[in-house]
């Protein structure tokens, strides 16, 4: 019966159009945020305040997870490398996997669920309790006063957090590999240093985390700003933030990796 399937087709079409509209609105939103960033730079205190909530409060989870991921890498890497008799390359394995991939990606995923969801919930609640309207009525632009400082704080903290994650991970790999298992310390560091390139590996890793930072804060702020002003609306938006930004991070990672590491 063709007429029965029609509503489904129609709803798929409506959903598609809806998503395109939302994407357009999100683009306009980030444009507005960038255009209204002047206030944030004229008053760095606003960004510093948000750096506390996005950066400092995410620091513990990032440092602890970094340490554990590094330790697991050390353990697993040793198991695998020792079968080929090349456990001296443990440093290379730990450092390269962290600096290139795990550092930026895992810290971005943690950042999305720790700081991104908090940002969405906060802005969504501000909207639901009319705080944004109140601000608007006080002739203060909420985008300039609320959204832009959070955006820049997120963009600044993400690379710093990713660097902390990687450094902590290398330290974790060192503890397991050198201190506990007994891989030669000299070859651990020297092989690592000769294999890890500043521009190819470390700078590219920083660029990755910078891009992830932009994507996550953009998604989080937009979901909060666009959330229906109800309890369900805000909780739904918070969930969407974590799902969408995690997927965005993984997809962007694939794209960036294929650009950065395929040529060399």
């Amino acid at each position: 019966m063709p007429h029965r399937s029609l509503p489904t087709v129609r709803s798929i079409g409506a959903k598609a159009i809806d998503n395109v509209l939302r994407l357009g609105y999100a683009t306009r939103f980030i444009g507005l945020t960038l255009a209204h960033s002047g206030t944030s730079f004229a008053r760095p205190g606003l960004i510093v305040r948000e750096l506390y909530y996005t950066g400092v409060l995410s620091m513990i989870i990032i440092l602890v997870s970094g340490l554990f991921v590094g330790m697991v890498l050390g353990l697993q890497g040793y198991q695998t490398l020792t079968t080929y008799g090349s456990e001296s390359a443990l440093g290379v394995l730990v450092a390269l996997s962290l600096v290139r991939e795990l550092g930026p990606v895992v810290s971005a995923l943690l950042f999305a669920s720790r700081a991104g969801s908090a940002m969405t919930a906060e802005i969504g609640l501000m909207k639901a309790t009319e705080q944004l309207s109140a601000m608007e009525m006080m002739a203060v632009d909420p985008i300039a006063r609320v959204v832009a400082p959070r955006f820049w704080a997120g963009v600044i903290s993400m690379p710093l957090l990713a660097a902390m994650f990687s450094a902590m991970g290398v330290f974790g790999g060192y503890i397991v590999g050198v201190v506990l298992i007994g891989v030669d310390e000299g070859s651990f560091w020297s092989q690592m240093q000769s294999a890890v390139d500043i521009r190819e590996d470390i700078v590219n890793g920083v660029i990755k985390s910078f891009v992830f930072g932009i994507a996550i804060t953009w998604i989080s702020l937009f979901e909060g700003y666009d959330a229906p002003p109800t309890a369900e609306g805000v909780s739904g938006a918070t969930t969407r933030t974590v799902v969408t930004s995690s997927l965005a991070v993984l997809a962007l990672d694939f794209i960036l990796t294929s650009f950065m590491f395929s040529g060399a």
Partner: protein, 157 residues
């Protein structure tokens, strides 16, 4: 939370992040033992560079003395022009030989420099005359087959 406490924590956060970046650059990466020092550039033309890539190491007697800076194609001589950045601390004579070698059987390719006996040293921008191209497996095999065929031909005559 007071204003100053907030500033303090954010300060700690930024310092920790920067410190992590510095650690990555110096302890994990190779900025401390190479990259920061002065270098000078010398060129070499190769008929075939094989799988040589920019930033490949340049070794002399097994010691890394520099890195490949760029590889371009010389359209007049139909050769590959390789620009090498060699650390200023190391000097090589004019009649140095540059050859493209492979680390191990299937390892990465690098340039090996072998010093000659000339009194004059290579300066920045100079070219190395004596070069030895990469060994290409297909060419080796076809050379071998060609030689065999040639031998067979002469025997028949």
């Amino acid at each position: 939370m007071g204003r100053s406490m907030l500033d303090l924590w954010v300060g700690i956060f930024v310092v920790a992040g920067m410190a992590a970046l510095v650690i990555l650059a110096f302890k994990v990466g190779n900025m401390s033992n190479f990259g920061g020092g002065d270098t000078y550039e010398i060129n070499a033309n190769f008929d075939n560079i094989g799988g040589l890539k920019p930033r490949a190491p340049i070794k002399s007697a097994g010691v890394v003395v520099g890195r490949v800076k760029s590889i371009t194609f010389n359209n007049e001589r139909f050769t590959a022009k390789v620009t090498m950045a060699v650390e200023s601390a190391y000097k090589f004579p004019k009649d140095t030989t540059a050859s493209i070698l492979t680390a191990g059987l299937l390892g990465e390719q690098y340039i090996g420099l072998e010093g000659g006996g000339d009194d004059k040293m290579l300066n920045s921008g100079d070219s190395i005359r004596l070069t030895q191209s990469a060994v290409v497996l297909e060419k080796l095999i076809s050379q071998f087959l060609f030689d065999k065929a040639a031998e067979g031909g002469t025997e028949k005559k």
